[in-house]
């Protein structure tokens, strides 16, 4: 069957009433948590992960994916109306979006963000649909050595782009790898780092760990400071941009989509970096760069397109190689594994209904988001007015229920609380949790592939450098890590470094 035929079959899956409902729930919750500062897509996806145990894999992935790209839409609303990014990828939107709101053009800013996001999201899905099948064919050639090196490369990129010291990022990756190894060794059946606790035989739970690191830690961080939010007082005005506005931002939208998609595919870069790069590119291309920061519409259109396209691009390594490129895709990988589905080159062959169903649902989800973001803008403004001191006990409670409902285990609640404290302290001392989570998810796969590669090569370490794909990945990883310690490049890295979470 050709791609179009597959896509039609995917639409048949996505249009099933249950899948349609979960897609709506996903994008609605995604928009909601995108609007609310202090809770990001990772926490929301962790919170809803237990619910996915009871539904089909298609519905689960459709909903989780919807939360992810939905949060990219929602984040812009807060950035434009409150001057606080709803999630990290909307930081740049605050620069010109809030200025437009102050000038009485909040509606146009929200409109261009929503429609621009829709255009970019759709373009990214088309690109994903075209790029994923040939890439999956190529990935079939990957053996254990190639997979091991690719994972090392992924961890190196994430450590490189994560905010702050690369030493600290690598330390976090080491802790994540060690945490990923807790439990029974799949080859020798020996328990590792379990401290004779039965609860640890299956390893440290992904949900309590993520909820602690991202949910509880974020709450602890927020309650320590005063939360001031002032929704812009001016009228929102009409939402549809004028023809002049469209002409002004048309190239920004296209460039943002392309930049976002390409950077989204690369491990570790994702939505945050792509929105910054897009902003920088638009400023460089502008006839009058001094308009930027004072309400330039391209400063909203480009980054908003980029962060949505990046969300689409991030699915490529996950669906074709089975490798997550960040925390969000690591969570999606967790959802695949929970349902006994192995993402990777064979996903399209073994589970075509899942692969194409998810892609088709993203088209539908983008349309739903457009409908949610434009007519319901008044509702999101009301949500923004809920004070944080009312909101945070509820978020805390949802975290606890989310964790408890997975296994009905009080031990998991202790694990979550422990990781909450750990995440809070990490943040205070300049350590970022993203490399830890990615290494935790990759840890068991990395170990298995390393051991398999060594067994297959009869203990020959050169197997990692004699295979071309593996050698290129290791070379790139080494170059990246070495470049981070060179003074000139280090300064540049610190300028662009941002944590996706």
């Amino acid at each position: 069957m050709d791609i179009l035929g597959m896509l039609m079959a995917g639409f048949a899956v996505a249009f099933e009433p249950a899948n349609l409902a979960y897609c709506f729930v996903g994008v609605f919750i995604g928009t909601l948590i995108g609007v609310l500062p202090g809770i990001g897509p990772v926490a929301a996806m962790s919170l809803l992960m237990p619910i996915t145990f009871y539904i089909t894999p298609e519905a689960a992935i459709i909903m989780m994916a919807g939360i992810y790209y939905g949060s990219m839409y929602g984040g812009s609303t807060t950035a434009i109306l409150v001057n606080i990014p709803g999630e990290a990828a909307s930081v740049v939107t605050t620069l010109d979006g809030y200025q437009m709101a102050l000038q009485g053009r909040a509606g146009v800013a929200l409109g261009v963000a929503a429609i621009g996001s829709f255009i970019a999201g759709t373009l990214a899905i088309v690109a994903l649909m075209l790029v994923a099948p040939p890439l999956a064919d190529f990935a079939v050639r990957f053996g254990p050595a190639e997979y091991f090196s690719l994972m090392v490369f992924g961890l190196a990129i994430l450590s490189y782009v994560t905010h702050g010291s690369i030493l600290k990022s690598l330390m976090m990756a080491c802790i994540g790898l060690a945490l990923g190894l807790v439990g029974i060794d799949s080859i020798t059946a020996m328990p590792r780092l379990t401290f004779d606790r039965l609860e640890l035989v299956d390893g440290v739970g992904l949900v309590p760990m993520i909820m602690g690191l991202f949910g509880i830690a974020e709450i602890l961080f927020n309650i320590e400071g005063a939360q001031q939010r002032t929704v812009v007082k001016t009228r929102i005005g009409k939402l549809l941009p004028t023809v002049k506005d469209w002409i002004q931002c048309r190239w920004a939208l296209l460039r943002g989509s392309a930049i976002g998609f390409v950077l989204g595919v690369l491990p570790g870069t994702g939505s945050v970096i792509s929105s910054f790069v897009s902003y920088a590119v638009e400023k460089r291309f502008a006839d009058d760069p001094s308009r930027f920061g004072k309400g330039a519409i391209e400063g909203v259109a480009g980054p908003e397109a980029a962060n949505n396209a990046a969300a689409g691009g991030a699915f490529i390594p996950l669906l074709t190689l089975g490798i997550p490129t960040g925390v969000v895709t690591a969570l999606l990988l967790g959802a695949f594994i929970i349902h006994g589905v192995e993402p990777g080159p064979l996903l399209m062959v073994n589970h075509p209904e899942l692969f194409w169903g998810v892609i088709a649902s993203m088209y539908i989800g983008n349309v739903m988001l457009l409908v949610l973001n434009l007519p319901l803008i008044g509702l999101w403004v009301q949500v923004l007015k809920v004070p944080y001191h009312i909101l945070f006990p509820m978020i805390l409670l949802f975290c606890m229920i989310g964790v408890y409902s997975v296994n009905g285990s009080v031990f998991d609640l202790y694990v979550m609380t422990g990781f909450g404290l750990f995440g809070y302290l990490m943040k205070k001392f300049g350590f970022e949790p993203a490399p830890l989570v990615l290494a935790y998810v990759l840890g068991p796969m990395l170990e298995n592939n390393l051991r398999k590669a060594l067994i297959l090569s009869q203990g020959d370490l050169t197997t990692f450098v004699t295979k071309p794909i593996s050698a290129v990945c290791l070379l790139l990883a080494a170059a990246l890590l070495l470049s981070a310690v060179l003074p000139a490049l280090r300064a540049r890295r610190e300028k662009i470094a941002l944590d996706e979470t």
């Binding site: 060794d185 945070f392 409670l397 409902s405 300049g430 170990e447």
Partner: protein, 157 residues
């Protein structure tokens, strides 16, 4: 580099060395057939090396006068953090004995009174309303099994 990096570096060094010890203890195997502790050993060694480097750099930066450049990393209202954590630990410890409904009302009440304190009436009202709504949504609607605790005769019959 921050002055606190000396402490975190030393902690990391300790953790790394412990992983090295555990890895060796589990068996390294050889390159033909790596054992259970093989990767743990090398991860621990890498962790120890990175941590030593972090602590060492911080010491050197301190010798150059950079130490103390940043103040306490904790905000003015930091006392709320251990308080909320203590609530959570007590909640975990008592959940099965006291039960979800009663304990959640108590937890929410304390949270509403601790951070940007609400009046007693509002705190009680919010706590009861949220707990009951959440119980109906998750417990009744989605079938989550919450511990009944003291309310067992009432809820289980």
């Amino acid at each position: 580099m921050r002055p606190s990096d000396i402490g975190t570096g030393l902690l990391g060094l300790g953790l790394g060395l412990w992983l090295v010890y555990e890895g060796r203890d589990m068996g390294l195997g050889d390159l033909h057939e790596p054992g259970s502790g093989f990767i743990l050993f090398w991860v621990g060694a890498l962790m120890a090396a990175l941590s030593a480097l972090l602590a060492g750099s911080a010491v050197l930066a301190g010798a150059g006068g950079a130490a103390g450049a940043d103040g306490s990393p904790f905000g003015e209202r930091w006392r709320r953090v251990p308080l909320v954590l203590a609530y959570l630990v007590v909640y975990c410890a008592l959940l099965e004995a006291v039960g979800f409904i009663l304990l959640t009302i108590a937890l929410l009440f304390l949270l509403f009174r601790t951070v940007d304190p609400q009046s007693w009436t509002k705190a009680v009202l919010y706590s009861v309303a949220i707990t009951l709504a959440v119980y109906v949504l998750f417990g009744v609607g989605l079938g989550t099994q919450f511990p009944a605790g003291l309310l067992e005769p009432l809820l289980v019959g």
